[in-house]
Amino acid sequence: MKTLLILGAGTGGTMVANKMAKQLDPQEWRIIVVDRDEAHHYQPGYLFIPFGIYTQRDVVKPKRNFLPPTVEVIFSEVEVIEPEKNRVLLRKGNQALNYDYLVIATGSDIHPEEIEGMVDGGWNKNIFTFYNLEGAVKLADFLKHWKGGRLVVNIAEMPIKCPVAPLEFLFLADWFFTERGMRDKVELVFTTPLSEVFTKPRAAKTLGGMLEAKGIHAVTDFNIMEVDNAKQVIRSYDEIEVEYDLLISIPTNKGDEVIQRSQMGDELNYVPTEKHTLRSRDWENIFVIGDASNVPTSKAGSVAHYMADVLVENLLRSIEGLELLPKYDGHANCFIESGFNKGLLIDFNYEVEPLPGKFPLPGFGPFSLLKESHANHWGKMMFRWIYWNVLLKGSETPFESQMSMAGKWV
């Protein structure tokens, strides 16, 4: 009996487990999934919680429900991965698991303690994050009673999970405070370490224009050094101060600590991964999916989804002793919520930045690319249903793994 071990049952790990369970002969293979947490979070939903659009109930479901019955699931912290022994040690019962193949899907998380002063006084009082469920829920409570002031959204350091989410937060905040008749009492400010408001030039131009039109002030090249909660300012390394009444922080993102304990990661605990095959650069029987990898594309659910097809194909080829195919092209796409029931859609890969045009999607589309529309907003809202009911289960979707130039205006 051989073992496929999957660490992490988030978006990537769950999809791989489902797809592999359909492919591997249960007489020959056991599939084991390990995760520390029994709850699966629909992370794109966090964004909507502060504004009362979603509640906790909309974004949390039991992980077990999304994994096939033939897969063995262990809920435990992983102590360490020992790749030279093909073995993983679990904290629960000091159990050792041997594997033939390992899939690392341990994700990434926020680390507010990386920034001086962030968690010292104001955390969850007048400093919040919406990058985890607890923060999003506490911020929702806070916003119900907030009388207005200067709201600052700060990105501490790149890369971050879902790099459009901070902009979406600001667009939704503009809509939320307008609806509540208090937009004139709220100043919206965005600070980013990037030189533009987004990572990709053409999208940055469009999104920058939208911020301006909505009266949201952007401070670029702002590298946060510390939070001075006594003075209510954030200070950059070059001593620029930005005042806040309410600070929304997107702290440093890092890969899981087990990667660090296992000495398998880079300076941010991301696992070095061959960017086109998704195999670990160091170990032939280890594959990496989603946020856990260091490949230079967005850390996002859509990315994990497109990676899953390539990873599964290559994992099966590796088991068969065949050459891996360099098929992952960095494909990512995201609906960007822009407030007032509108949204944008961007679609890109390693080589091609988001372009305007149309995104043809059989049965649903076309959606406008890099342009606001109502359809894009409904696409985003519909996506939660697709996520829970189609995507996680590894079923066929009309989305192609590789990016297509069809409909794009070059």
Binding site: P159, P193, M225, E267, L268, P296, T297
Partner: protein, 102 residues
């Protein structure tokens, strides 16, 4: 000096070398001068580390990679290369603009 050394060097609109293979220490000094930086041994230590890192990975290192790799603090790097050290070192070291962030 900067003008004469850079007279025959092609730069893109953001001031990065269009052909990184022409880079030499004289060009680095001239590029630094344009940024208002006089290169000390500490600057060179960072420049050399970044060139080695880029040769290995094929990409300009991020700020965090530079601090981890050189042992210098972020604050020190901002003192050496004010306003965006990762970008500034890359420019002076003849590397491409750091992508780092997607």
């Amino acid at each position: 000096m900067a003008v004469s050394v850079l007279a025959n060097v092609s730069l893109n609109e953001e001031g990065f070398l269009t052909d990184p293979s022409v880079w030499n220490e004289e060009i680095a000094k001239a590029l630094a001068e344009q940024e208002g930086i006089e290169l000390t041994e500490k600057h060179w230590q960072v420049i050399r580390w970044c060139r080695e890192a880029a040769a290995k990975t094929g990409a300009s290192p991020t700020l965090r990679q530079i601090t981890t790799g050189t042992g210098l603090s972020t604050k020190e790097l901002f003192e050496l290369f004010p306003k965006g050290p990762a970008k500034k070192v890359a420019k002076i070291a003849g590397l491409s603009k750091p992508e780092g962030c997607i």
